[in-house]
Amino acid sequence: MSGIAATLQKVYIRNLAEKNKRIDGRKLNQYRNLEITPNFISKAEGSAMVQLGKTKVLVGVKLDLGEPFKDTPDKGVLITNAELVPLASPEFEPGPPDENSVELARFVDRGIRESEAINLSKLVVKEGETVWIVFIDIHVLDHDGNLIDASAYGAITALLTAKMPKAVINEEKIEVIDEWAPLPIERVPIPVTVGKIGDKLLIDPNLEEENVLDAKICITFEEEGNICAIQKVMGLFTEREIEEAISLAEKKSKKIREEILEITKGGDE
């Protein structure tokens, strides 16, 4: 929706929020319908198509052998990238990643990295020389709000269902053999996005709501209950609102983690 239309919409959405109502009929703490299809792309080592309401995001995980970073010779490498392709929204332009796609990629990356979701030490083939590089590529297909949550759920689902081939050192040469195992995933970080309109907080804002939000924050939880990443995306919050947002997000993240684990379990032969 056009940003100008939002000016007119704002009063309407704000009045609804005061009555604890939303433009699409949801409750303030209600998520949209979430559908995740793992293994959507067979060329990728892992993948997931996520539909969150009308938002569609496809995430692929690819593996490649490469050099480790100099300061972490004993760890594999994680690289996260997001493409906001113009197919997904009239507001996306072709060209190199803009600040929104970089923020999206970096926040998803941070949740996975800081929770130590991937045990990067298990991705070493030859210390200091060759490690597995895990590429997470986020491809947004239809933008109807809350791209961060949709992308992060796609990323963790793709990681949980990804298969890694075995790499062995054979007379100084590295060989990749046709023996596949799951990636060493040890935690499932789940972000939940909380929007603020007037003095009301709501979760999983759709695009119409995002256009009129006063503030937005994303909070990522891991299963032990720790918070592993936060990003205030726009606007301002009071201390009390942050606390409220955290408890809203915590509850919801548990439910979504259960859903994702349900979808991905039994995927391994």
Binding site: F40, I41, S42, K43, A44, S47, K54, K56, L58, G60, V61, K62, D64, N81, E83, V85, P86, L87, A88, S89, P90, P94, P96, F135, D137, H139, L141, D142, H143, D144
Partner: protein
């Protein structure tokens, strides 16, 4: 080999036919891979289509006619058609670096040229129509699958058209003319001949070839490809009617 094609590399098979005379995929010479099409799958786009062609998975969105920026790009007498063919990083065997390369720029151009003849662009002077093609998974023949899906997305967007556009590739592998090459056949065969036609009018809007064929072989390949287009056209028609039936 072209360096930027390296990310599309498949392992080289010893030969491209099995002992029983069928292709490695089990197909006969002129047998197409399974094709599925769906029209109207995106919310934001004015028109959209999804095609699964073998393992190729391609999504196409159409936006417009809309205002063109910068304005000097406007054509006074007709709409401008823009195409952007893009491959997702995870769409190939080896990860493809995101963003346009020379191959995708050329493909965007030839795809646009294949679609333009079917559109009545003079109805919308000074505007732009954007066709965005995202290859989500590729297995050879993405340009013909893209054209086939793009023409569905254009029809879905309500733009007036003279005809749909239907495309398929013919080629030559291990000395034999075949239809619908997959990546290994494309890579290690002798020739690849993608074509697109307006199926009702039988006019050719795309023809490219790389490799070697005799003129006789080319005639056979072209004839077979046009025949196959009729088959694909019926699928396109069904997909459109499926979307617009009451």
């Amino acid at each position: 080999m072209n360096e930027e094609m390296s990310y599309m590399l498949e392992k080289k098979p010893e030969k491209l036919f099995r002992d029983d005379g069928k292709r490695l995929s089990g197909r006969d010479l002129f047998e197409l891979r399974p094709i599925k099409m769906k029209v109207g799958i995106l919310e934001n786009a004015d028109g959209s289509a999804f095609i699964e062609w073998g393992k190729n998975k391609i999504i196409v969105a159409v936006y417009g006619p809309r205002e063109i920026h910068p304005k000097h790009m406007a054509i006074p007498t007709q709409a401008r058609l823009r195409c952007r063919y893009n491959m997702a990083a995870f769409s190939t065997s080896e990860r493809k670096k995101p963003g346009p390369d020379r191959r995708s720029i050329e493909l965007s151009k030839v795809i646009r040229e294949a679609l333009v003849p079917a559109l009545l662009l003079e109805k919308f002077p000074k505007t732009v129509i954007d066709v965005f093609i995202e290859v989500l998974e590729s297995e050879g023949g993405t340009r013909v699958a893209s054209i086939t899906a793009a023409s569905l997305a254009l029809a879905d967007s309500g733009l007036p058209m003279k005809d749909l556009v239907t495309a398929v590739a013919a080629g030559k592998i291990d000395g034999k003319i075949v239809l619908d090459l997959d990546s290994a056949e494309d890579m290690y065969g002798e020739a690849d001949l993608p074509i697109a036609i307006m199926p009702r009018r039988k006019e050719i809007t795309l023809i490219q070839m790389d490799g070697k064929m005799t003129p006789q072989e080319l005639r056979l390949a072209l004839g077979k490809a046009i025949e196959a287009c009729q088959q694909i056209y019926e699928m396109q028609k069904r997909a459109l009617l499926e979307r617009y039936k009451i």
